[in-house]
Symmetry: C2
């Protein structure tokens, strides 16, 4: 980097020379693409007519680096996944940084490199950005807001209100990995695991699913609030109930163990590389089989079905034979998990 300072200072957010140097020596260098090289405050790109998909997410995860990822890769995967959950093709990302004065330039570069790698691996360039710096103690290291743009075919109609009674509920793999990985790396927590965050870009898996079954009804990634919050949202939007089968839900033993230790339910824990799919029962088996052929869907399973319920409850047949309510939590269990 041409800037020899070791730490971010307020001048890096001034819009003046230091800002310009930071942008050139860090962001343009690593995100390297023709759009950014245009050097304007906007990116310009061609698009074919169709349905455009747009999504935005701020990332405030703590710690910034955790097993299996960091805030950089997470901010790329998270927004790609929100676009992918439309059944569409993510095309471009933007990234806006809010950086705390005194933050290490070395750590910032690690994060930017990680974003650049995640972006390149996914084939989705970061085409516009912004950098702001706030005084020491007015932020927490770095926050990253990414926005994604994509397009979706007109034959695809995936939306939260399309779940129908008798539909099957599919999960793409083990649940709770991201949340437990982040928690395990927080200071003051007295357990250690080998669990890695599942943070990953799901657009290619979704593409294969849509190609096989264009009439998927709902797709959503169970991030904050976990599978429980996502299914409760979908039940409410679709005016249905859901009945899960606990024994069918894939949970890694280490995740189950950590949850037991901490008094947490894996259903409430954030995932960053998993999706929930709701489709007609006739399509479900075939879809799960296809998903299992993809590395990010190898533990895919049908975990329940959509039922009639005017109260929109999510219930679960437990491994002990009973039935319990899977509620979304009203209080915060795991702050700043994404």
């Amino acid at each position: 980097m041409t800037n020899k300072d070791e730490f971010i200072d307020l001048s890096h957010g001034s819009g003046g020379l230091a800002s310009n140097e930071l942008i050139n020596s860090l962001f343009l260098k690593h995100f390297d693409n023709d759009f950014l090289d245009q050097g304007n405050d906007f990116a310009s790109t061609e698009v074919t007519a169709g349905r455009l998909i747009i999504s935005t997410d701020s990332h405030v995860v703590t710690p910034l680096f955790f097993p299996g990822g960091d805030i950089g890769s997470l901010s790329v995967h998270g927004t790609i996944n929100d676009i992918a959950m439309s059944g569409g093709t993510p095309l471009y990302l933007t990234a806006a940084f809010i950086i705390e004065e005194g933050f290490s330039l070395g750590k910032l570069e690690r994060i930017v490199i990680s974003m650049a790698e995640a972006s390149r691996k996914a084939g989705i360039p970061i085409i516009a950005g912004d950098t702001k710096v706030v005084e020491r103690g007015k932020a927490d290291g770095v926050f990253i807001t990414t926005t994604g743009i994509g397009t979706v075919s007109k034959v695809v109609n995936i939306s939260g209100e399309r779940a129908k009674v008798h539909d099957s509920i599919i999960i793409s793999g083990t649940i709770g990995d991201h949340g437990v990985a982040v928690m395990s790396s927080r200071q003051g927590l007295s357990f250690e695991t080998d669990i890695q965050s599942d943070s990953a870009a799901l657009h290619e898996l979704v593409h294969e699913m849509i190609t096989l079954v264009p009439n998927i009804h709902c797709l959503r990634d169970p991030t904050r609030g976990g599978v429980a919050a996502t299914l409760n949202e979908l039940a409410k939007q679709s005016n249905v109930g859901m009945l899960l089968n606990e024994s069918a839900i894939p949970v890694r033993p280490a995740v189950a163990g950590a949850c037991e230790l901490l008094g947490l339910d894996p259903l409430n824990i954030a995932n960053e590389g998993k999706l929930i799919c709701i489709c007609g029962p006739a399509d479900a088996e075939m879809l799960v089989e296809k998903m299992r052929q993809h590395p990010l869907g190898k533990d895919a399973a049908i975990i329940g079905e959509v039922i009639e319920d005017s109260e929109h409850q999510v219930q679960m047949k437990t491994t002990f034979g009973g039935t319990r309510l899977v509620d979304w939590l009203s209080s915060e269990q795991l702050p700043r998990i994404c």
Copy 2:
């Protein structure tokens, strides 16, 4: 609001029930549009084929409320203007909030209402969003990142590298108003003025300019770093120099006075409702006349010309008859002005 709490707590960022209530009772209520009502993690919209314009900006202004605006209206205007500077038509915005635990829900609602009003007045809906909450002391009230999407006609080709020797440099009005308004409202500063921020959406002014002169070469809004930083950027990108005429640059007497008091140069101070336009000399007079018919361009003026200079310097003929360098500042003069 259905949520009776007076302050934001971490549960509002949990992705669970409290998040859901906050979204419904605050964001969906005020931003009210069909895209948000879809209730998905993405917004879906039709677009015609053409060039798509994308821009993103985080807003960290302090204080959150200042004469002539607040962080809400600023975050709408700022991103609309970045899109407008392509010569294109802004269509949609997204908004991502990072909120500090303990922040007043009443203030948040004022900010959201202000955003909603700015968005409605500009005719550009906020179609997707996100809310994160961080612990007390880990942010500063609220930060808002907006991303804008627009389209631009293929006959328009506005870009930072298109300034040509002999081109005219136009400013749309008085400079420094935003920066001085924000500074005047900061605690500990011992001056008071009647100056209001110029925060405004410039897309309609730009539309009229482009209609009259499709061959505008450069447009840029001189925000952080002010006119000095913007002209230095453009000079570098276009491989030219610039010569300004100090007596032609419109500055309100109150702004000039405040700058003198504080030892600041109006050329370095942020604007949020002004644009710099560079065009062929034959088009300039006609363009300024047109701009003056629009309320946001009534003080428009030709302030200088593009000259040959391999060192890309911006110089200014002063009112005293001399010539001085208009450099961009390497250190931070006015942190968190936008």
